[in-house]
Point group: C2
Chain length 338, copies 2
DNA sequence: ATTAGCACTCTAACGAGTAGACTGCTAACA
DNA sequence: TGTTAGCAGTCTACTCGTTAGAGTGCTAAT
């Protein structure tokens, strides 16, 4: 069913105002702020119609209207003004990335921080599962005391490192051999693809078995440290979460990195996708998550999510995410050129 | 002033019951549960006296008594039953540390988790400031693409690593020279002590200046990632934080790693120290922090803190901290023996 | 020193009553 | 036919008075 232009205008007004103020909109208020040429009565009949169509809801008889989930979806798909961020805002964002950034962890933290600060919602970043990252090279460093540092350089420029405690003696030759062996097995592959060579099981290479196991083991163990959260308390600023039990539920979800990561995993393939009002899922109500796949210098590194009340400022959030994504990619390209 | 035995008994009863139930204690209730041979009236006069002495407080005239801050202090110093953890509990804790743990980060996370899980309060671990850690050795690893991985092995067995982007060409010889140079400067010293050698400023070593700066810079930058929090939502389980604004304040404090670290910094020198009711400090009321210096295998690595309501179960918390500390140290000693 | 008895105080819960915020409907109007 | 004014109806949120109950402090008796 088609929505008339006037209805569209009213629907947009209700969403915008409700996002800003979190209180139901009356016919009067809509007239005063958005349609001064109409009478409240006319607005009322339009509101009735929009409610009939499922876009608006009345909390109770003598209250105004608030947008339904359907309204938010429609708003995001058809009504939203996809504006660019102002130059000042973009500059402000750039400020967060000033100074030398040498570690992925640092970069990711800053990104999470700026997303949260700019949007005033909670942000989450989940780095891609190590299983899918292509390994470029492996280096072994002898740390004496029988400790060996394993450095893995991956596709995304990410470096994961882990120390391995070796029972056997480590000599100069051992390291050279082991390095070559590991690189033969791992280089150019993802962790998913790698299999232990038969010769390692009980062949002549069985003495390297422990090392191999340790590397695999350590790589997999990193998984749950790859979730970054910023601005967890921000969600408590919104009246939807005045209720202490809802608040507690939300914060408990933030505590649980695994749950957070899985909530983020439904991000669509390309660009920005959003999941509105994922109700009924363990009591997380009135909550929306905007997710986007994120890349640095063209390489996808993970997903970023913005968690806020359903009446989120989707426009702003999406602008911010786009802007940061642009900055991240241009920045790294510059760096690569050097 | 001396406290009679009967007063002691009553004080302990009030603290214990209030910790468990969070509601004011009446003379009646104390009599029924702890002093069946007395009349409520007698208990009342004792309560009056204890209130006079500053150990008890009445929320309002017709309510029972609750412990004052002074009472908690007295309780911890004189009344607490410093019991050992049960064998089952100790075994349960051990379970958290099963499997290979090869990274300090992993170990710290697990420790934070088990502290929070066992006590049901929020736990924080702040690793010692890098400035104070003694550096054992530095290794450089060429990662190609002009990237250099700097591995720093420290006193506490902690390994901090960072990549450095070098403008100049890196040759085999360069790395060997640079490694030797860096080790001459850093090995055996703490970061605080290190100064840039004069020859690096404009002498024959000036080409290494960038590397030196990068190492210092990168080391210092790690600081705020060295704070680990677990069970942030747990504090919301306690009625003290039913008030949404208090809850928000608390969670906001958790979000701010720097603030958290500084709140933890007042830990006493040895053993377990606790800071009760650090009121008035930016609105964090009804909140206590138990802090302890933590070590692994005899080397101090940082501080652990337990954050909960003032009516915390100090007994349990301290037992758990002690037990975990023991396990951590014995575990590593075993490993070192091998 | 302890206790029973009692008057007193304060909270928390309940219910009635009220103001006011909006709506939906009806009837008039362009 | 679309728009509007007017009005009755409904629901919330707030206030206020009342009351039950919890617990104390005091006094006088044991």
């Amino acid at each position: 069913m088609e929505i008339s232009e006037r209805k569209t205008k009213i629907l947009r007004a209700v969403v915008d105002e409700y996002v800003a103020g979190a209180h139901p909109l009356s016919s009067q208020e809509i007239r005063d702020k958005h349609l001064p040429d109409l009478s409240p009565a006319t607005v009322r009949s339009e509101l009735s119609a929009l409610e009939e169509m499922g876009y608006l809801v009345q909390p109770h008889t003598s209250a105004g209207r608030i947008p339904s989930t359907k309204a938010y979806k429609y708003y995001v798909d058809h009504l939203m003004t996809r504006r660019e961020l102002s130059i000042e805002d973009a500059e402000y964002i750039r400020g967060y990335f000033e100074g030398k950034i040498m570690q992925v962890e640092d970069l990711v933290r800053r990104t999470a921080k700026v997303v949260s600060d700019m949007t005033n919602y909670t942000s989450v970043i989940v780095l891609n599962d190590i299983e899918k990252v292509r390994i470029k090279q492996i280096k072994l460093v002898d740390l004496t005391d029988g400790e060996l540092l394993v450095v893995i350089v991956t596709d995304a420029g990410v470096i994961r490192d882990t120390t391995v405690n070796m029972d056997i003696d480590i000599g100069e030759g051992y390291i050279a051999t082991a390095t070559q062996l590991l690189n033969n097995i791992f280089t150019g592959h993802t962790l998913e693809e790698v299999e232990m060579p038969g010769s390692m099981i009980d062949g002549e290479l069985s003495s390297f078995r422990q090392l191999f196991d340790n590397v695999i083991d350590a790589l997999k163990r990193r998984t749950n440290s790859q979730v970054y959260l910023e601005g967890g308390s921000k969600i408590l600023d919104y009246p939807e979460y005045r209720d202490i039990d809802k608040a507690r539920n939300m914060i408990a979800t933030f505590d649980n990195r695994d749950e957070l990561a899985s909530a983020m995993s439904m991000a669509e393939d390309i660009g920005i996708s959003l999941k509105i009002d994922k109700d009924e899922r363990g009591g997380i109500e009135d909550c929306s998550v905007v997710t986007a796949r994120y890349s640095i210098g063209g390489k996808e590194i993970g997903k970023v999510g913005v968690i806020g009340p359903t009446r989120m400022n989707y426009d702003k959030v999406i602008s911010v995410l786009n802007c940061i994504n642009d900055i991240l990619n241009e920045g790294v390209e510059d760096e690569q050129k050097e």
